[in-house]
């Protein structure tokens, strides 16, 4: 199990060395060199506590949930619902019924598009997103527009990579039926000041979905304080398993929405004449869920809470500041996305060295970064770039790893620049 590395109420900084020993993969080497894992915005790594929680479940308590009266089924159900309760507390949802387990952020957004949007939207209606969005917060709405005749509107961004609030507000109209925004940009790291955007939308009675995939791992998120209607995030970016994620929805909206998949667990009674659907949250969880994934996510939340989200945010911000300083010394390096409020993500290019080559050369130094369009091709298009290199930090990263990144970038320039 994970150690609590400092008393929960102590303001002391995190003990990074102790934390790193919680993550087995961080001890491995790449071609004999230590791994510097700087691709956390794509997927974070797992602490032993999460891996053990999943193993322990499979070795001791696995059965199907919500079905049997036998001991294992009861234990599995308790663990699964216990994980839901942890998620509720973690994001401060009013009720556990508002926490729907899904495969990830992408599935959560598709669920809202198909269950909330499809029965309601029609020609003339508009869905408003921003230019910052990940493809997962673009394509489901485009598909919905094709199905319903609704129109997708896009709020522009500025050269620093911030959503232009005035342009956003100007696009809000009586035709706007939903606003869907990134809380934190995956490609640039911009923290969107969502309170302002939500307030503007709610003033006009427009519901708001937030794509929180990049926010939940790095900051304290309170869905009631945000006053958003839907909030989507993924387990694997917050030290939890792949294949599990969460859709938070305001209970009144979820109650008014039809199921989007039919099957077991989402029903109360089935005959060939009529099926009575189950209540929340099960109405949206057809079929046997990812029980182990949910339990792993619960363990990840325990782990993050044992460190403290404020301390995590502070540690990551310190890494961002250090990375910005050090990267600025690399000749020909240009930062892409320079918003004043950023998560620990640095997107950049280097003159005469394509990001894809950087990715390969850095890998040879054991440094893992993401290169490409980051599933945000409109962002790349906005900056007139085919791709960027992106280093994204988690609380377990160190300054030494950033130094290795910078040294490898110098090497890449010498080789190809």
């Amino acid at each position: 199990m994970s150690a609590v590395h400092a008393a929960a109420d102590a303001p002391a900084a995190l003990d990074i060395a102790a934390i790193r020993s919680d993550f087995p993969v961080l001890a491995r080497t790449i071609r004999g060199l230590p791994l510097s894992y700087l691709d956390n915005a794509a997927s974070s790594q797992r602490p032993r506590a999460v891996i053990d929680a999943i193993s322990h479940y499979y070795e001791n308590s696995h059965a199907n949930v919500h079905r049997g009266v036998h001991t294992l089924s009861q234990e599995a159900t308790d663990l699964f619902e216990g994980a839901r309760a942890k998620v509720r507390r973690f994001i401060n949802a009013k009720s556990a019924q508002e926490v729907i387990f899904v495969r990830g952020t992408t599935e959560a957004i598709n669920l809202v598009a198909q269950s909330y949007g499809r029965p309601r939207f029609g020609p003339g209606d508009e869905i408003l997103v921003s230019w910052l969005e990940h493809h997962a917060n673009i394509v489901p709405w485009q598909m919905l527009c094709q199905q319903t005749g609704a129109t997708l509107k896009v709020a522009p961004i500025t050269q620093s990579g911030e959503v232009d609030f005035d342009a956003f507000a100007a696009l809000l109209s009586p035709r706007t039926k939903l606003v869907a925004l990134a809380h934190v940009s995956n490609a640039l790291g911009t923290v969107v000041p969502v309170h302002r955007f939500i307030a503007a939308a709610r003033e006009r009675g427009v519901p708001v979905l937030l794509d929180g995939a990049q926010a939940v791992p790095h900051m304290s998120v309170d869905v009631q304080a945000l006053d958003c209607d839907f909030y989507a995030f993924s387990g694997h970016k917050m030290c939890g398993p792949t294949g599990i994620g969460v859709l938070y929805g305001r209970e009144s909206l979820l109650n008014a929405m039809p199921p989007w998949q039919g099957g077991g667990d989402m029903i109360l009674a089935v005959s060939f004449e009529k099926t009575v659907y189950n209540g929340l949250p099960y109405k949206f969880e057809a079929g046997t869920p990812d029980i182990a994934g949910a339990i792993g996510l619960g363990a990840a939340i325990d782990y993050l809470e044992s460190l403290g989200m404020e301390r995590i945010a502070a540690a990551e911000h310190a890494l961002l500041v250090y990375a910005n300083e050090r990267l600025a010394t690399v000749p020909g390096l240009r930062f892409v996305g320079t918003a004043p409020d950023k998560a620990a993500v640095v997107s950049f290019t280097i003159d005469h060295v394509h990001p894809h080559d950087l990715g390969t050369i850095l890998d040879h130094e054991g440094v893992a970064i993401r290169t490409g369009h980051h599933c945000a091709m409109p962002v790349m298009e906005f900056f007139g770039l085919p791709a960027t290199a992106r280093a994204s930090f988690a609380f377990y990263n160190t300054r030494a790893e950033i130094d290795r990144l910078v040294a490898a970038l110098h090497g890449a320039r010498e080789m190809l620049g």
Binding site: R31, H352, V353, H354, P355, H356, D357, T360, I361, H364, T371, G372, H373, M380, L385, P386, A387, M415, L416
Partner: protein, 147 residues
């Protein structure tokens, strides 16, 4: 697996100074190639004299491997017949994807410099994009994607 196997001097040189990097305004054939994984985009222009490729060029943007591969392609294919170009495409495909020594690398001349790419599976598409694009141009398809 040494990085120098991938970024050989010939590759670095052709990336820094790509040959035939221009548009042929009155090209007989052209096609766009796109690698959505990394954003590489290039256009291949072909001028034909009967079934002979009398001029060949490319432009666009991409990583060192894709630019160097396209540059080497234009040098190697210019002056060849369509059938010869297609035979070379087939050899290059084997060079980039097979891990045996079935291909005589020395017979490929400078193109043999790309043999290191097969040790880097994530980069094979970078090297083959231009060849797929040339193939599309010769078959009068306008677009090709490596996904």
């Amino acid at each position: 697996m040494d990085l120098k196997d991938l970024y050989r001097d010939v590759i670095v040189d052709h990336n820094r100074h790509p040959r035939n990097f221009r548009e042929i305004p009155d090209a007989d054939r052209r096609a766009d190639g796109f690698n959505p994984l990394c954003g590489d985009k290039l256009t291949v222009f072909v001028k034909l004299d009967g079934d002979r490729i009398s001029d060949l060029s490319f432009n666009g943007s991409g990583c060192a491997i894709s630019v160097a591969s396209a540059s080497l392609l234009t040098e190697s294919v210019k002056g060849k017949t369509i059938a010869e170009a297609e035979a070379l495409f087939s050899q290059m495909h084997q060079l980039l994807t097979r891990d045996d020594d079935a291909i005589d690398v020395t017979a490929l001349g400078k193109l043999g410099a790309l043999s290191g790419v097969r040790e880097f599976p994530a980069r094979v598409k970078c090297a083959s994009l231009c060849w797929h694009t040339l193939d599309a141009a010769l078959h009068q398809q306008e677009q090709v994607s490596t996904e």
